[in-house]
C-alpha cells in the first residue's frame, strides 16, 4: 500500500516537474524573444552592418548568460525586467536591464504593445518615434540614426555628413576663431615675405 502510494505520488511529482519544465520553457522562450526584424530593416535600409547593440544592452542580443542577457541577470535585474514587460502602454518609465537607453526610450515612447505591433512593419518605427528624441545628444534624432544604421547611444557615431553639418553649427565659434587666426597669420607672413624682399633689394 505504502509502496503504491509512493509510486502514485512519484507519478504526480514527475507530472508536476514536467509542467514546471514546460512552463519555464514557455516563459524562457517568450522572455528571450528578440525582434531581429528591426535590425534586418536598418541594415537593409542603410547598407551598414548593425547588431542588437542598437537597442539592447548586449550586442549579441538578450539571449545568453553575459552581461545584459536574460540568463545572466540577478534578482534585482529580473524584477526590473518584469516591470518593463508590463509596460504595454506608452508613457511609463522603463528601466529594462536587457535594453540600452535607446531601447528603453522606444518602449517608453510607444509602449510594448505598439513595439510588438511594429515588428511586422519595422520601417514605421522611425515615423512613430518622437522627432526630438536624441538619446546621445549628438544632434541627429534617434529616428534618423535608426534609418542610417548608426549608433543612437554613441555621440561620436552618426552619418558623417549629418555630423559635419550639426557640429559645424555647434562649433561655429571655435571654427570662426581658428579661421580668423589662420587668415591673420597668413596675412602677417605674406607681409613679412614682402618686407624681407624689400630689405634684400635695398641691400
Amino acid at each position: 500500500m505504502i509502496d503504491n502510494r509512493s509510486q502514485h505520488q512519484g507519478g504526480f511529482r514527475i507530472f508536476y516537474a514536467c509542467l514546471l519544465v514546460m512552463g519555464a520553457n514557455y516563459f524562457t522562450v517568450t522572455a528571450v524573444h528578440s525582434y531581429p526584424q528591426f535590425q534586418e530593416f536598418t541594415e537593409k535600409h542603410s547598407g551598414q552592418a548593425a547588431n542588437c547593440a542598437m537597442c539592447h544592452s548586449n550586442g549579441n542580443g538578450p539571449t545568453g548568460t553575459g552581461p545584459g542577457q536574460i540568463d545572466g541577470l540577478n534578482e534585482e535585474e529580473l524584477k526590473r525586467l518584469e516591470e518593463a514587460r508590463k509596460a504595454f502602454q506608452p508613457g511609463q518609465k522603463i528601466d529594462s536591464p536587457i535594453l540600452n537607453e535607446f531601447g528603453n526610450k522606444i518602449v517608453e515612447e510607444l509602449g510594448r504593445k505598439e513595439v510588438l505591433a511594429l515588428v511586422k512593419e519595422p520601417e514605421a518605427l522611425a515615423t512613430k518615434l518622437n522627432k526630438n528624441l536624441d538619446t546621445d545628444r549628438d544632434g541627429i534624432p534617434d529616428a534618423e540614426e535608426y534609418l542610417d544604421g548608426t549608433d543612437p547611444t554613441n555621440k561620436f557615431h552618426g552619418h558623417p555628413w549629418k555630423m559635419f553639418l550639426v557640429n559645424l553649427n555647434r562649433y561655429k565659434q571655435h571654427i570662426l576663431l581658428t579661421f580668423a587666426a589662420v587668415l591673420l597669420l597668413n596675412y602677417g607672413l605674406g607681409h613679412l615675405i614682402k618686407g624681407i624682399a624689400v630689405l634684400t633689394e635695398k641691400r
Binding site: 551598414q48 552592418a49 548593425a50 547588431n51 547593440a53 542598437m54 550586442g59 549579441n60 544604421g149 548608426t150 549608433d151 554613441n154 561620436f156 557615431h157 552618426g158 552619418h159 558623417p160 555630423m163 559635419f164 557640429n167 559645424l168 562649433y171 571655435h174 571654427i175 581658428t178 579661421f179 589662420v182 597669420l185 597668413n186 607672413l189 605674406g190 613679412l192 615675405i193 614682402k194 624681407i196 624682399a197 634684400t200
Partner: protein
C-alpha cells in the same frame, strides 16, 4: 612673384663634387651624395633656390607630410597621458579620453585624421617626386630614404590601428598578421621566416596582451625614432642638393628657399591646420565604420562581418581578396623592387613618360580606394 629672380647661369642642377678615377666606386658615390664643401648654412639655406614652374605645387607635398607628422607627434603625446596599453584597459582608456578628458575627442580625432592625411600626402609626394624625376643623380639616397619613410608611415598606420582594442582593431590585425604567416608556404626552405616574424610581432599564440604591448612599443618608440632618423637624412639630402628641376624645359624663374618658399610653406601648413581642425571638430573619424565594429573586442564572440583594413591599405587588400595570394606577393615584390631601384630603372626616361606612369599609378590607387569594394563584389559575382 616676390623674391623671384631670373636663372642666369647654366650651373648643373646637381652640383656634383669632382671625383677622381683612383677613388673606389663606393667612396665616389658617397662623396657625390654627401659633398662636404656644401655642408654649410650658406649653401644649404641662404643660397638655396626653388624653381618656379607649373609643377611647383609638388614641392609643397613633402612639407605637408612633415606638418601632419608633427601633428601626429603632438596629439600622440597628449593621448599618451591617458592611454593604457593593456587588453583590459585599452578600450576603456579610449572611452575615457572621448568622454571625460577636456578636448579629448578633438585631440583623438586630430590624431586619426592627420594620420590619414600624412599617409595621403606621403603617397602624393612619392608620386609627384617620381613624375618630376626628383630621384635623378645625385638624389638617389633622398629617393630611397623617402621610400623607406613611406613604408614606416604605413607601419605606423598598421600598429596604431590595434591600439583602441575594439572589434575592428583586433580582427583586422589578426588578418594582417595571418597574411604574413601565409607567405611562408611559398618560401620553401625559408618558410619558417614569416612564421617567426609573425610570432615576433604577435608575441603569443593569438593576438593578445603581448601583441598590444609590442605594437604600442613600435608605435610610440621604435617607429618614431626610425622615422626621425630617416627624416633627418631625407631633409639633409634635400637641403644639400636643393630642389630638383621638376620639368623638362628650362625654368625661367626661381625663388629663395629662405624666406620666400619657407614662409609660403608655413602659409600652406596654416590652411592645412584649418582644414584638419574643421574635420576633427565636425566628423568623428569612427563614424565611417559600422558601430558593431567599434564595440570592445570580445575574445569569445564571433568575428563580426565587415572587417577590413584602413582605406590606405585598400589598394592591396582588395586585390588580395580577388586574386591568388602568390600572384599578389610576386606583384608586390616586383613593385617594391622597382620602387627602390627607380633611380636606376628610370634613369633615361623623360619626365613626360614618367608623368604618364605616375598618372596610371594614381588612377589605380584612386579607383581601388574608392571603388575597391564594388569591384570586389562585381568580380566575385
Amino acid at each position: 612673384m616676390v623674391e623671384t629672380q631670373k636663372v642666369d647661369s647654366t650651373e648643373p642642377e646637381t652640383g656634383n663634387a669632382s671625383t677622381g678615377d683612383t677613388k673606389p666606386a663606393l667612396f665616389s658615390f658617397l662623396l657625390e651624395r654627401f659633398p662636404i664643401e656644401k655642408m654649410n648654412f650658406h649653401y644649404m639655406v641662404e643660397k638655396k633656390e626653388v624653381p618656379v614652374h607649373r609643377m611647383s605645387w609638388g614641392y609643397y607635398t613633402g612639407g605637408l607630410t612633415f606638418f601632419f607628422f608633427m601633428i601626429q607627434v603632438v596629439t600622440g603625446l597628449f593621448l599618451l597621458f591617458y592611454y593604457q596599453p593593456t587588453v583590459s584597459d585599452a578600450f576603456l582608456s579610449v572611452e575615457y579620453i572621448n568622454n571625460h578628458v577636456s578636448a579629448g575627442p578633438l585631440i583623438r580625432n586630430m590624431h586619426a585624421w592627420s594620420s590619414s592625411a600624412m599617409i595621403f600626402f606621403a603617397t602624393v609626394h612619392l608620386i609627384v617626386a617620381f613624375a618630376m624625376k626628383s630621384f635623378e643623380k645625385p638624389r638617389e639616397i633622398t629617393w630611397i630614404v623617402g621610400v623607406l619613410l613611406l613604408f614606416i608611415t604605413f607601419t605606423f598606420g598598421f600598429t596604431g590601428y590595434l591600439l583602441p582594442w575594439n572589434q575592428i582593431a583586433v580582427n583586422a590585425t589578426k588578418v594582417g598578421l595571418q597574411s604574413i604567416d601565409n607567405l611562408g608556404q611559398y618560401l620553401g626552405p625559408f618558410s619558417h621566416i614569416p612564421v617567426q616574424l609573425r610570432e615576433t610581432f604577435q608575441g603569443e599564440a593569438s593576438v593578445g596582451q603581448s601583441t598590444l604591448g609590442r605594437f604600442y612599443a613600435m608605435h610610440v618608440v621604435i617607429l618614431p625614432l626610425a622615422l626621425v632618423a630617416l627624416l633627418g637624412l631625407h631633409l639633409f639630402q634635400v637641403q644639400l642638393h636643393g630642389m630638383s628641376k621638376g620639368v623638362d624645359e628650362k625654368t625661367k624663374k626661381t625663388e629663395k628657399f629662405f624666406t620666400a618658399f619657407f614662409f609660403k610653406d608655413l602659409e600652406v601648413w596654416a590652411y592645412a591646420f584649418l582644414a584638419l581642425f574643421v574635420l576633427a571638430s565636425c566628423i568623428p573619424f569612427e563614424s565611417f565604420l559600422p558601430f558593431p565594429l567599434l564595440e570592445p573586442y570580445n575574445a569569445l564572440g564571433a568575428t563580426p562581418p565587415g572587417i577590413k583594413p584602413e582605406w590606405y591599405f585598400f589598394f592591396v587588400y582588395y586585390p588580395l581578396e580577388m586574386f591568388n595570394f602568390l600572384f599578389i606577393i610576386i606583384a608586390s615584390t616586383i613593385v617594391v623592387a622597382i620602387l627602390f631601384l627607380t633611380p636606376w630603372i628610370f634613369k633615361g626616361t623623360s619626365r613626360r613618360n614618367l608623368r604618364f606612369i605616375a598618372l596610371a599609378v594614381s588612377a589605380y590607387l584612386i579607383v581601388m580606394t574608392i571603388f575597391g569594394e564594388q569591384i570586389y563584389h562585381w568580380w566575385k559575382h
